[in-house]
């Protein structure tokens, strides 16, 4: 990284003596000013402004931030759509791109005429619980006639504790969040259901039985770890590597295979789960367009879905992006929706198509799709 010019740091110092360390971290004066404003506002809530304690607190937070600690861990929250989600070290910070996909999915479903009166939604790898919380908030606020029953699953007890604490916090302020209809459960979603020996860490199937949860789920969402070991070193920022849990980002190494296969390791099991629980609509987050296409191909191979789409970061925006050559040349390409980087894969089948406002599925839809391309 190039060094920042001294003049910039001087300019920053003239504005506020706490600004230069933040400028070094953000590499941008405006961004640093924003962060300082938010940190100061946070300090204001913890101590009396202009007191010694306040000064010390703010100084300490700026120091933490200058080591690369994510602002969200220092402030203790991050915004996810309209919701302010609690964050803690040890649990991945929710990303805005995830919120955009989840919001868009909820918006598509809002207008469905034939949703079941209780919609079952499963979120695998739930982390802070941000996905089911936002999904219920968005859908139930618009559709009071639909009960949105959500189950979030994670392997990490730290994550599950935080998810439950987020539920307790948000149920107080958000009328569309219904605590009775929001559950969190521990399971290892990579564990094959068959060779499951009863243990502390059950497979998803065993955990569903154990906790007397339904076997059938209408909607499956997941933002699983999807970064390959080499991409972890090459493409993640230092703040991510240094402070966020690797368990949440990189599928564990014992899974084997090439580097790319390791990055993709969760998707085969997620697809199998989608079929097992009979999900009608499925949304998986991915790292980029290449991974999206790989996952879409895997999904097509299952023959279980009537429709497959790839969504970009902002699925609600017009597509101004060029599709890279290697993908557009691929004759079996999938519809790519929105603007930004490739971000998620949407699958639907049976009645799911009509929930989403898609053309009704026909026998052999996929073949027709290819012919007309």
């Amino acid at each position: 990284m190039p060094r920042l010019p001294y003049s910039l740091l001087w300019k920053a110092r003239a504005v506020d003596h706490l600004l230069p360390p933040l400028v070094k971290q953000c590499r941008d004066v405006h961004a640093a000013q924003n962060e300082l404003r938010w940190l100061r506002a946070h300090a204001d809530t913890l101590s009396r402004p202009n007191s010694k304690a306040h000064d010390g607190l703010l100084r300490k937070m700026v120091e933490q931030r200058s080591t690369g600690m994510p602002l969200q861990y220092i402030l203790g929250t991050e915004f996810f759509g309209d919701l302010e989600i609690k964050c803690r070290p040890g649990v991945l910070i929710p990303r805005q791109e995830t919120a955009a996909s989840v919001t868009y999915l909820a918006q598509l479903l809002q207008r469905a005429k034939n949703l079941p009166s209780q919609l079952h939604v499963m979120d695998l790898c739930t982390g802070t619980g941000c996905i089911p919380l936002l999904f219920q908030h968005e859908l139930h606020a618009a559709r009071r006639d639909i009960q949105v029953y959500c189950l979030g699953v994670d392997i990490s007890t730290k994550a599950l504790d935080l998810a439950k604490s987020n539920l307790r916090k948000l149920q107080k302020t958000e009328p569309a969040i219904v605590p009775n209809l929001m559950k969190f459960m521990r399971a290892d979603i990579l564990k094959e259901p068959d060779n499951d020996v009863p243990s502390v860490l059950p497979s998803l199937k065993a955990a569903l039985e154990l906790n007397r949860k339904p076997k059938q789920w209408d909607i499956l969402i997941s933002n699983p770890p999807y970064i390959s070991p080499s991409a972890y070193w090459k493409t993640t920022t230092r703040s991510v590597r240094g402070f966020e849990p690797k368990l949440a980002l990189v599928p564990k190494a014992e899974l084997g295979g090439t580097d790319t296969e390791q990055g993709d390791a969760f998707y085969p099991r997620l697809l199998a789960t989608a079929v097992e629980i009979d999900a009608k609509v499925v949304l998986f987050e991915v790292a980029d367009l290449d991974q999206a296409v790989r996952v879409a191909h895997l999904a097509r191979k299952t023959n279980a879905f009537d429709g497959i789409e790839i969504w970009r970061d902002q699925p609600d925006q017009d597509d101004l992006e060029q599709v890279p050559e290697n993908i557009s040349k691929d004759r079996s390409c999938f519809p790519i929706i929105g603007a930004g980087n490739g971000r998620s894969v949407l699958l639907y089948r049976g009645v799911g198509a009509s929930w989403l406002g898609m053309p009704a599925p026909m026998q052999g839809t996929l073949e027709q799709q290819q012919v007309s391309l």
């Binding site: 504005v15 506020d16 003596h17 004066v29 405006h30 961004a31 000013q33 924003n34 404003r37 938010w38 100061r40 000064d55 994510p70 602002l71 969200q72 402030l75 991050e78 915004f79 309209d82 302010e84 991945l92 910070i93 990303r95 805005q96 791109e97 919120a99 868009y104 918006q107 809002q110 207008r111 933002n223 770890p225 999807y226 970064i227 991409a231 493409t235 993640t236 920022t237 703040s239 991510v240 966020e244 949440a248 980002l249 987050e285 790292a287 970061d313 902002q314 609600d316 519809p335 929706i337 930004g340 980087n341 971000r343 406002g357 898609m358 053309p359 027709q368 799709q369 007309s372 391309l373």
Partner: protein, 189 residues
């Protein structure tokens, strides 16, 4: 007429969906942000109605920069930039940490800018600014008096000069006003 290709049909269906549900009703139907935009009732009577900007007239950009997103980076920026296509006005908002909130704020700021252009002296912002400058001149006098008294108290109590740089009035005001050197945005008053 030959049937439309599948992809085109899908896209048309989607445009119909998007324009119906994702934007217009979400932002325009929402009540204004109370904390920042509350207008005293007396003033509200003199104001023309707020200019509503249609989402079809806007190009929205989240200024995410290039490079990867998702799990690979944890951004703290939630900046939103809007371009009003008919007039070319651009506003940017990074007031809050919440992108949804910034989107709403940006739309209101844009509405004000367009209105200023259309109504000039009769626009809400101009009326409010006139009202504010009247009030401010009297409030400023009071505030200066109070600050002086506070400062004297503090010095008397500590009996020494702090080695931390005291935050001067001017500086702290800049921090509250935000966005230095960014003429396009300002904290709406």
């Amino acid at each position: 007429m030959p049937p439309l290709p599948y992809l085109l049909r899908l896209r048309l269906a989607r445009y119909a969906r998007t324009s119906l549900c994702s934007n217009s009703c979400l932002y325009n139907a929402l009540p204004p942000v109370r904390t920042l935009f509350a207008t005293p009732p007396s003033l509200a009577k003199q104001l023309p109605p707020r200019r509503v900007v249609l989402d079809s007239e806007i190009e929205e950009n989240f200024l995410k920069g290039s490079g990867p997103g998702g799990q690979k980076i944890n951004k703290t920026s939630s900046a939103v930039q809007l371009k009003h296509l008919p007039t070319g006005i651009v506003v940017k908002c990074q007031e809050t940490r919440s992108r949804t909130q910034n989107r709403k704020l940006a739309r209101q700021i844009l509405g004000e800018r367009i209105e200023e252009l259309e109504l000039g002296e009769q626009s809400r912002t101009h009326i409010k600014a006139r009202e504010k400058s009247k009030k401010k001149s009297s409030a400023d006098k009071k505030k200066r008096r109070k600050y002086r008294a506070l400062e004297e108290d503090r010095k008397a109590m500590e009996g020494e000069v702090d080695d931390n740089e005291p935050i001067e009035e001017g500086e702290s005001q800049i921090m509250k006003g935000e966005h230095i050197g960014e003429g396009k945005i300002h904290a709406p008053g």
